[in-house]
């Protein structure tokens, strides 16, 4: 860290207000960029900062923007993904609540870089008060000329619209999100074509997570080198780690990318809850394969977690205490994906529910000896074979639970059989 304080999440009652944001140097980066830099330079700067997507997949943001064709007068769109449906994830809501103008400034910069004049913030229905806060912030910014026509007198126009979802997990998937904005059923689209070429209303579209976009102003405020230097060589900046579950101090911690999981849990979140040890940890939102207590020294970055056959995902860390039966976790995980499967493709539609029914049966004492093998088989039948990433999202945590906690699950099944 370089001495400049972490700035994604300001503190203070009124941190969300425009005056407060301006007091923190807000909109200066955007003003300077719009008046002095070419869009291409903005994109290059973001590439140099090694900013990777914060939504889950970790795609380099600058490259994503560069996929959008620059030619043509027809509209292009930016969609900011504020659906934040991943269980264990609660970072975007904090950014939007405490610092909505940081997000708006990021939207201005990203839109300028790609040549976009209409941006949508797709926000989940449960965040109604945040949606209203965003709308108020947009009004404030428009009034000051930070949004709307000719921003900062630069001749660059941008409108930002808040679009409320209806509470579906799958609408956080980027193409389902596009369908939802278009007013259709939130079903993921078949790719290709990718949104960068055929996106919202069939126009080229950039879709970025809230945290990704909120990082952009920092790159221009403090420089790409500064930003890149805060993280790892190919993964710049900080991450907002949301720690929940059986810890002393659950909360949101902004730390450099690559901070070891053990440091986050023990040094920042105060270690496991009183009287408990750790049984398992979900490192990056519920879709990330589970880790065991033996895997806590892993650095929290995309590549390290991929090597451990898990993922950084949304960096939502869920700590499961050792008093929690793992079958309860399996049931909750399975039920969540069964409930949220959109129903479009076969393996996910039926596989998630099938697994959920088996897990419930085991939990109720009705497990059969080959149930774990069947769950593994069904999860394999979904993994890599569904239309959208949700098949993997549903299969991977289940597979990791069965693999890493098979012994305990086997005992649960035997106990149930003995009682019958």
């Amino acid at each position: 860290m370089t001495g400049i304080p972490a700035t994604l999440i300001p503190t203070g009652e009124d941190s969300f207000r425009l005056e407060a944001y301006l007091g923190r140097g807000g909109y200066e980066a955007a003003r300077t960029v719009l008046l002095t830099k070419k869009p291409q330079e903005v994109m290059e700067e973001v590439k140099k900062a090694n900013l990777r997507g914060r939504g889950g997949a970790g795609f380099p943001a600058g490259s994503k923007w560069a996929f959008v064709p620059q030619a043509g007068d027809l509209p292009k769109y930016l969609c900011v993904n504020a659906d934040e449906g991943e269980p264990g994830t609660f970072k975007d809501r904090v950014i939007m609540t405490r610092d909505p103008h940081l997000l708006l400034e990021g939207i201005v910069l990203a839109s300028y870089a790609v040549g976009i004049h209409t941006a949508f913030i797709y926000i989940r229905a449960e965040y109604e008060s945040i949606a209203r806060r965003l709308e108020a912030a947009i009004d404030e910014a428009r009034e000051k000329g930070f949004l709307g026509a000719g921003i900062f007198g630069s001749g660059f126009d941008l409108e930002v619209l808040v679009h409320r979802g209806a509470g579906s997990y799958i609408c956080g998937e980027e193409t389902a999100l596009l369908e939802s904005i278009e007013g259709k059923r939130g079903w993921p689209r078949l790719k290709p074509p990718f949104p960068a070429s055929v996106g919202l209303f069939r126009r080229p579209t950039v879709i970025n997570n809230v945290e990704t976009i909120a990082n952009v102003p920092l790159i221009f405020r403090y420089g790409a080198e500064w930003f890149a230097g805060r993280g790892l060589p190919r993964d710049g900046g900080t991450r907002l780690f949301g720690v929940s579950g059986a810890v002393q101090k659950p909360g949101l911690y902004e730390l450099p990318v690559g901070t070891p999981l053990r440091t986050i849990i023990y040094d920042w979140a105060g270690g496991p809850a009183a009287g408990q040890g750790i049984k398992a940890v979900v490192p990056g939102g519920l879709s990330a394969p589970f880790l065991t207590p033996g895997e806590l020294d892993i650095p929290m970055d995309y590549e390290s977690l991929a090597r451990a056959r898990s993922m950084l995902g949304s960096a939502g860390i869920i700590v499961i205490g050792d008093r929690t039966p793992i079958i309860d976790i399996l049931r909750i995980v399975a039920r969540f994906y069964a409930h949220e499967s959109c129903g479009q493709c076969t393996p996910c539609r039926i596989g998630t529910t099938w697994i959920s029914k088996i897990a419930d049966r085991i939990g109720a004492g009705g497990g059969a000896p080959d149930d774990l093998d069947l769950i593994r088989h069904l999860a394999q039948g979904m993994k890599g074979k569904t239309l959208c990433p949700m098949g993997d999202a549903a299969a991977l945590p289940v597979l990791s639970i069965v693999e890493k906690f098979g012994k305990e699950l086997g005992e649960t099944i035997s106990r149930g059989a003995e009682r019958r």
């Binding site: 059923r185 499967s341 129903g343 076969t346 539609r349 529910t353 074979k385």
Partner: protein, 494 residues
Amino acid sequence: MISIQVDGRALQVPPGTTVLKAAEQMGIVIPRFCYHPAFEPEGSCRMCLVEIEGLPKLDLACSTVVREGMKIWTSTPKVIEARKDVLAFLLADHPLDCPICDKAGECFLQDYYDKHGRYASRFSEVKEKKRKKIPIGKGLLLDRERCVLCTRCVRFLRRVTGTGELGVFERGVKAEIGIGEGMAIRNNYSGNLVDICPVGAITDGDFRFKTRAWFLEKGRTVCPRCSRGCNIVIHAVRGYPLPGRQRRIYRIVPAENPEVNGYWICDFGRYGYHDIEDNRLTTIVLRTDGRPEEKTSDWKDVITGLAADIKKTVENGRSSRMAVVLNGYLTNEELAACRRIFVDTLGLRNIFFADPKPGEADGILLTADRAPNGRGAAALGFSPTLPEPESPPGSTDLLIVFGLHLLEHLPAEKAAAWFKQAGKTYLLAATSSVLDRAADVVLPTALPAEKKGSYTNIAGLTQSFECAVPAPRGSLPEAEILARLAAELGVELG
């Protein structure tokens, strides 16, 4: 052209070809539910996954476009396993009611299980319960338990008819096809939903429980119910399980023809099969003044009599008192024979046409002209005109009428009166009507589905067809009657 390999065999295909279509060119049929050639790939059933060398995951055959040098494998262990998995998923909640399902025998799910499944079921949970027998309009019934959610029906109604009556409601395993609030399927293309449903989720009340798919014999022909000339297949049963040597038609389905009807037919054409089955004439009826009606099957005698009547009229110099009424349902061959006999040889001037009354075009396939061969008649030099309501037949010695469409243009009593006023009336018709009793001689004919010949459609395309179902015993196609008549008259038909 792009060079690829499918299952180790080299193949050249045009750019833009999908893996599924490329494989099809080699005779490899990749199983699919949601894919339908009329629509963009949907990619949701996941049945068509294949292995492409160099790619970590299986890929969709329906949507993956071939690239130079691509090596595709359609039945590796991984592919076979993936297909089994998809089938196991689909069959988990499926009611397995094939014995009472109309689709049995032509069901993708059933066929694929037989070909690609054959695993021992591991499903021991409680199946999802869903509504069955839901009326969705025009006699169609939806069974949500059988549905595999391929959404072909939904897409058909959005993209072909543009009516959008069906949609997907709920989500996950509860996701189901449903009908929009206050809507019912009322469009003229509803029957296609049954055809494109890969399973027994949408069945047709008209066909339901009447026969089994494996009894059906299929004959391709051209739909005669308008001038579009849609290609159709008649599904009929002959022999077992019907008593005696009967045949019965159970349904008409579209035959694919990209130049004419694509994959569809309209309901007006589809349900026209009832015309083929109902009230058929099967014996020749003779009425001679003062003698009781006589029924016969002696075609030779009757055609000799017709030839004699014609000759007598002509030889008496009374050709102008002889009239023939043709129609646009006759094939090009039949019309050509009529032209040869009645116009070129006999020089008759009183040649009329009585066609079905025009209807409304529906903007998709159905045309306003409801005769299949109006263009063919015009090409043969006929200028179809209805007989004047008052004049010709009343002052006619010999009247020869093909078909019953006169009844669409004038009241039945009037038409019958014409027949009575003529010296002698021959009626060539396939189905029974009020005109039977007015004619002196009734000759039972075959319907278009029972003939071979050709029609020229509204776009000027001439389409030949073979006999799709046998004509009822006792009837003859007009072509045959005309040929025999020509022989009797000594006319060369060429």
